[in-house]
Assembly symmetry: C2
DNA sequence: GTGTTAATTTCGGCT
DNA sequence: AGCCGAAGTTAACAC
């Protein structure tokens, strides 16, 4: 890992063309040759970058560039896609280098997979008398997140999202169309379950007779924990 | 901008919970108080981070943490969402600080907007005798990228994507449903145009009678340039 | 300000 | 290896 604070201009050419005018920025050069160009604001996304696998070559600037004040040129190229990032460095203000080694990586908790498990474990959240058929029920158009039966024994397909968007409703609609063509399942109703449901998504779902259910991750975790303690 | 190379463990709590075990990493502390935790690999995405607006407070570790080898604790909090990132620093291996100032920002060329302009300028790419009605034609369910007429004078709605995914087909389908309900436009056919069309998206589109068209950005730019020179 | 869509998306899982 | 879907997505743009 090498960190350089430098006044530079940057040009990217690849899937699109992009240019950064002369300014002072952070250059983060990783072990795999990849390079990030960061400013002192924005979010975690760099102003410009080159993804691995790629490699850096450092050039001496030609006379024209020297006349413009360029002291060195970093060229980062990706073998496969022929993407290229060129950094024209005018002045280096600081530098820091250190061997980091492999990172053990991030451990996450609370994503869609957990919501799905929590709802499957607490299937009565869907309504009294509901029973779980199975999670990740495969169909020709993809896996239904949760398949259940209601108190009358009718099949219910559940699509689970962290954030309920219009896409999720479309997805569930495709599953329902397919399942309702199968006499083994029909009639199948749909439930769109998410931690947060966007108004447009709710409207589309309800227009199509799909029930919307807002999931409270914290509460479901609580139920799960207390059940774990009691039984 | 402050850059620190440190051996640390990190805990995030907010929209989800996440943990990074003890390892040596780069801490990038930006002017707005935001913090990025980078490893020496991966892509431009940090292992963990805190988005602005937020602020950093540095704590002395309590006796337990000192016993574990922690020398200082960085706590980054976001006022609104109550998200929190806690970095337990064991050892600092290097540090670099510099005032960067505002960045002029990135200038891009070659995104979806350009594809749309190129296709509108070269509407005969859709077929002989096609004419442009207008770009960004507003409807109740969103803007149709390009509205055109074919050689017979029938309306054609075009959805343009850089990468043609199933979502784009659904989007175009919604526009077509709406436009075909309007006797002023009906019958309306659809064209799904993209630089790259995924097989599933192509299948769904063709099932629904939507024509797929692969756009060659380089070639269209060439046509545009030569027309610019000739006329 | 709110909502919708694109992104040089990246990342993980599964076929 | 390729395809598909989620993401603490973030960022730009329209209403």
């Amino acid at each position: 890992m090498r960190l350089v604070i430098a006044t530079c201009s940057v040009d990217y050419s690849g899937r699109l063309n992009a240019h950064l005018p002369l300014a002072t920025r952070v250059l983060m050069l990783k072990q795999d040759g990849s390079l990030l160009v960061h400013s002192d604001g924005g979010s975690y996304k760099p102003l410009n970058w080159m993804s691995p696998p790629c490699f850096l070559t450092v050039h001496e600037p030609d006379d024209d560039l020297v006349a413009q004040g360029v002291s060195q040129v970093w060229q980062v190229t990706q073998a496969k896609t022929s993407d290229m990032l060129v950094v024209a460095i005018h002045e280096i203000h600081g530098e820091l280098e250190h061997e980091l080694g492999e990172d053990p990586g991030l451990i996450k908790e609370g994503v869609e997979a957990h919501l799905q498990r929590l709802l499957a474990d607490n299937i009565e959240e869907l309504g009294d008398g509901f029973t779980l058929v199975r999670r990740e029920f495969m169909t020709a158009v993809g896996p239904v997140d949760v398949l259940a039966r209601d108190a009358d024994g009718n099949t219910v397909a559940v699509e689970i999202k962290r954030r309920g968007d219009i896409d999720g409703v479309e997805q569930l609609t495709r599953y329902l169309e397919l399942l309702n063509r199968d006499p083994h399942f029909a009639p199948v109703t749909g439930v769109f379950a998410a931690q947060e449901i966007k108004p447009q998504a709710r409207k589309l779902a309800e227009d199509r007779g799909i029930r919307c259910l807002v999931l409270d991750y914290e509460r479901l975790t609580g139920i799960d924990d207390s059940q774990g303690r009691l039984f």
